[in-house]
Subunit: 171 residues, 2 copies
Amino acid sequence: MISMSDVPPPGQWLSDAEQQAWRAYVTGTSVVGRLLDRALKARGLSPEDYGILAMLSEAPDRQLRLGELAAQLRLPKPFLTYRFQRLEQSGLVERRQCPTDARSAFCVLTDAGVEMVALVAPEHVASVRGALFDHLSPAQVGQLGRIMAAVIEGIDSGENECESDCETGAP
Amino acid sequence: MISMSDVPPPGQWLSDAEQQAWRAYVTGTSVVGRLLDRALKARGLSPEDYGILAMLSEAPDRQLRLGELAAQLRLPKPFLTYRFQRLEQSGLVERRQCPTDARSAFCVLTDAGVEMVALVAPEHVASVRGALFDHLSPAQVGQLGRIMAAVIEGIDSGENECESDCETGAP
DNA sequence: ACCAGTTCGTTCGATTTCAAACAACCCCAG
DNA sequence: CTGGGGTTGTTTGAAATCGAACGAACTGGT
């Protein structure tokens, strides 16, 4: 079922269906984001902090170099430096010398960090359910996954001429 | 087609399909957001600025009170105060005394603001296309709209006990 | 008129964010 | 071994963000 409002990109504006989808997307992502942030903040973690911990907890030896983290999480490097210091002060994470390259140090998850992830992850999953999946049918879950995957794929392939910065010292 | 990985919420974790959808959602929204921000920033506007201007441009007489803006856009009030000053300096908006209530002043879009919206809106639409709709089939556009609408509906109905704050002086 | 109680928006303070410049280091050709 | 070119992560400085406290102004009852 394709209605007239779906078919062509009319001139310079969005079709009705696109308009509706866009508005829902904007406020939806905003509301979902707010909900997830709230749950994490109660544990003293920013959403990015959780990303860092989760990424490390899945890495081999629970360690990654800072640049890898930045690239995977698509965060600017100075931001990671700052945030990592904060996590260090909480004892969730620590640095370790890289034996082969004195420039870079490994970012490793401490045992306390592992505990924190074990504690927070289920809460976070519950938040994700409450914010997203509880309101969707299984079919819609699949659709959402394919849609966002297509978007990522489309953007990544369409702009690799602008590289994958997240670097700042790159003139 | 429903595979075993789709059906039940297994215990305390996400199904494979949910896992995939969630990851795609997180990085997808992040990437899309970055893309849109970039286009607006080239005009000296933050995404919230654009929201403010767009909201005002659709309001009767192109004016709203600050509290209304805060509520509609779901932004904290001090944030709006600050951002609005910035927009005032650019000449895109201005305040006007409310004749019946000396506390509050109207936020109105100037002619320059109208021009700015007219200039930026098409660019923004193009960004939205480039970031989102260009990568989706018409069917997927409809799916996305319904999915996000369901999410908003679900969340709003599920937590209206926590009111619609965005206020800060509320003890 | 007058005094609580409420609502409106601003100000203050501490934190967060990030682009640009920077220092340290690796690699490799000459 | 030495020096250019590319990498890695940090420092810096300015701007943004937002919770909490604040003052000013409307409201309704007495």
